[in-house]
């Protein structure tokens, strides 16, 4: 991995989200969607530190994590279209999808609820001696949920192989995080659990990868959980249809200067720029092919609505 491949993966996530937004506008996506435009370097950098068998748990803003973990693009689009996707058969949609085949424990629509569940994946790894780690992503706002507090302390006392990645996009849904906490950085709370905590540039996949790799190594060798706070910014609303009146003038324009894809573009010489152009074109084709394939997936058979309540 490295620059061109990280760029490709981040561009794939960006293009996916942009295409999804267009599909939503066109009426092809029935439910609410929460996009991660601008935050792509966090899942891409973090997943670079992982191997097969490591579990990932994310939030409803988790399409980037699914894609970085290798979840099938056609399945993702089809699931979000309410079709009978190979992922969840249309039962989960954008905010609650998962994929056991890619060790993707899944998204969660309840803020913070994935952290206790990820703690359980870490318990399995520890008790079976599999050597796997469990990485869980939450947003900054989730740090104020009791479930996160409970799970962090639990994982700490059990020395579980858990890595918590806090994607701090400075908004707790639609409120400034600085109005919601009295600490300057959320990673400062790690000390309260007796855990290491680090703050990294969440728009730099290398910085994220380095910090998560350190936490993953620590977890694999049995030394317990860590917290990595990745500072980033959301280029779009909290949810589809969020007019973002609460964001000060110029904030999003400034964020566009700092976001990970623009940053790579700005630093690129002519040779690299040409390669990135080629990657953009390939990614656009790949996404369009996935949309086309997803549109060919049938809608779930209404006769199956009562299936899978019980094993």
């Amino acid at each position: 991995m490295g620059l061109p491949e990280d760029y490709r993966l981040m561009a794939r996530i960006r293009r996916f989200e942009e295409r999804l937004a267009a599909l939503k506008d066109a009426g092809e996506i029935p439910g609410s969607i929460h996009l991660c435009n601008g935050q792509e370097a966090v899942p891409v950098g973090a997943c670079r530190a992982l191997r097969d068998g490591d579990h990932v748990t994310a939030t409803y803003r988790g399409h980037g994590w699914a894609i970085a973990r290798g979840v099938d693009l056609t399945g993702l689009f089809a699931e979000m279209m309410g079709r009978d996707s190979a992922l969840c058969g249309g039962r989960a949609a954008s905010p609650y999808l998962s994929d056991p085949g890619r060790w993707f424990v899944g998204e969660n629509s309840i803020v913070g609820a994935g952290v206790p569940i990820a703690t359980g994946a870490a318990l399995t790894a520890q008790r079976t001696g599999s050597g796997a780690v469990s990485v869980v992503s939450i947003g900054d706002g989730a740090m104020n949920q009791g479930n996160v507090h409970e799970a962090l302390n639990l994982a700490a006392v059990l020395d579980l192989p858990l890595v918590l990645v806090v994607e701090n996009n400075v908004y707790s849904e639609m409120s400034r995080i600085e109005d919601m906490v009295r600490v300057r950085q959320l990673a400062e709370r790690a000390a309260g659990y007796g855990l290491p905590g680090r703050v990294v540039d969440g728009n730099d996949p290398d910085a994220v990868a380095e910090a998560v790799a350190e936490a993953v190594d620590r977890a694999r060798e049995g030394s317990g959980p860590s917290i990595v706070e990745a500072m980033t910014e959301r280029l779009v609303g909290h949810y589809s249809g969020d007019a973002q009146h609460y964001r000060p003038a110029g904030e999003i324009a400034a964020a566009r200067e700092r976001e990970p894809l623009a940053r790579i573009r700005r630093a690129a010489d002519a040779g690299l720029a040409a390669r990135l152009d080629a990657i953009d074109a390939e990614v656009a084709d790949e996404i369009e092919a996935a949309v086309t394939a997803a549109r060919a997936v049938s809608y779930p058979d209404p006769a199956t609505a009562k299936e899978h309540v019980y094993v």
Binding site: H55, T57, L87, C88, G89, G90, R91, A92, Y96, S98, D99, P100, G101, V105, G106, N108, S109, I110, A113, V115, P116, I117, A118, T119, G120, A121, A122, L123, T124, A125, R127, T128, S134, G146, N147, E150, A151, N153, L154, V157, L158, E307, H308, V309, Y310, V311
Partner: protein, 326 residues
């Protein structure tokens, strides 16, 4: 082979069986390992199986029920203990939004084979926050199985059934039954999930009960027999899967139905039984269905107040008398 065990000893025997026969089973909760549990349900298990298999958690029901789910999804079969059923309310997100839904919402690709073991109901002096009978909340939630063992033998058999189930199961015991003693078939094969049981045949009226109210119903039946009323008692045992066929067959024989539970009246599971009886047994019913339940008040602590709130054998007997005279 059957052994005479107290209810709480039967629970301990079932957990011993689970940890002994299934290496993917882990047990955790508050004060369950070194202390052996506040009622002794896990006495001796830590010494025998060690910290890898049974361990104490912080007082974090949401944290450790979520941990049970994640562990179940990835290959273990956890049994998580909620010390008092009342404490499940602080973890309802994990129970209702997470544990109950993941199998369905993944179109069956994830499973959550876990057990939430708890004990419920009033005891003398216990306040409102240690006296709930919350089974209707769980029975209302699609995706959960709900077990309410009423005897030492069922405490053993139903807990083992829950452990081998691939669905999440809430096993709600009755604290007031812990000292009761009875024969336990410790060598019986593990039973399939579900199934109500006629525990006393009778001709005049059916009383459907579960948990502590089964023994109250049997006591009422003994009293009523002396009055010439022949009561059939059905122990519902599992609220999910619900064996309504056994109830309907009993009502077809007796023509009268009384439902008895300790939980308060409104929205209690007795309402579900009454509604189904109205829909499916209408032609068989010779009297309105009666419900025995606590009134709609938070449980008081003082025994003098509990005496008029908690349904007992006399409450059941009164309801039966009204029903047979209707």
């Amino acid at each position: 082979m059957s052994e005479s065990l107290r209810y709480i000893q039967a629970v301990n025997a079932a957990l011993t069986w689970a940890l002994d026969s299934r290496t993917d089973t882990v047990y955790f909760g508050e004060d369950v390992a070194l202390p052996g549990g506040p009622f002794g349900a896990t006495k001796g298990l830590h010494k025998r199986f060690g910290s890898d298999r049974i361990f104490d958690t912080p007082i974090s029901e949401t944290g450790f029920l979520g941990m049970a789910l994640g562990a179940a999804m990835t290959g273990l079969r956890p049994i998580a203990e909620i010390m008092y059923a009342d404490f499940s309310f602080v973890a309802m997100d994990q129970i209702v939004n997470q544990i109950a839904t993941i199998h369905y919402s993944s179109a069956g690709r994830w499973k959550a084979p876990l057990v939430i073991r708890m004990q419920q109901g009033y005891s003398p002096g216990a306040c409102a926050q240690h006296s709930h009978s919350p089974e209707a909340y769980f029975a209302h939630t699609p995706g959960l199985r709900v077990a309410l063992p009423a005897t030492p033998d069922d405490a053993y058999q139903m807990l083992r059934t829950a452990v081998v189930s691939d669905d999440p199961v809430v096993v709600a015991e009755a604290r007031m039954l812990y000292p009761t003693r009875g024969p336990v078939r410790t060598d019986a094969p593990v039973e399939d999930i579900g199934g109500a049981r006629v525990v006393r045949p009778g001709a005049d009226v059916t009383v459907v009960a579960w948990s502590r109210m089964v023994s109250a119903a049997l006591d009422a039946a003994a009293t009523l027999a002396e009055e010439g009323v022949d009561v059939e008692v059905v122990d519902l045992r599992w609220l999910n899967p619900l064996d309504f066929d056994t109830v309907a067959a009993s009502v077809a024989r007796t023509g009268r139905l009384v439902v008895a539970h300790e939980a308060n009246l409104t929205g209690g599971f007795g309402a579900e039984i009454a509604a189904r009886a109205a829909a499916e047994c209408f032609a068989d019913l010779r009297a309105p269905v009666a419900r025995v339940a606590a009134p709609d008040v938070p449980m008081p602590a003082a025994p003098a107040l509990q005496a008029v709130v908690v349904p007992e054998a006399a409450t059941v007997a009164d309801a039966v008398r009204r029903t047979v005279r209707a």
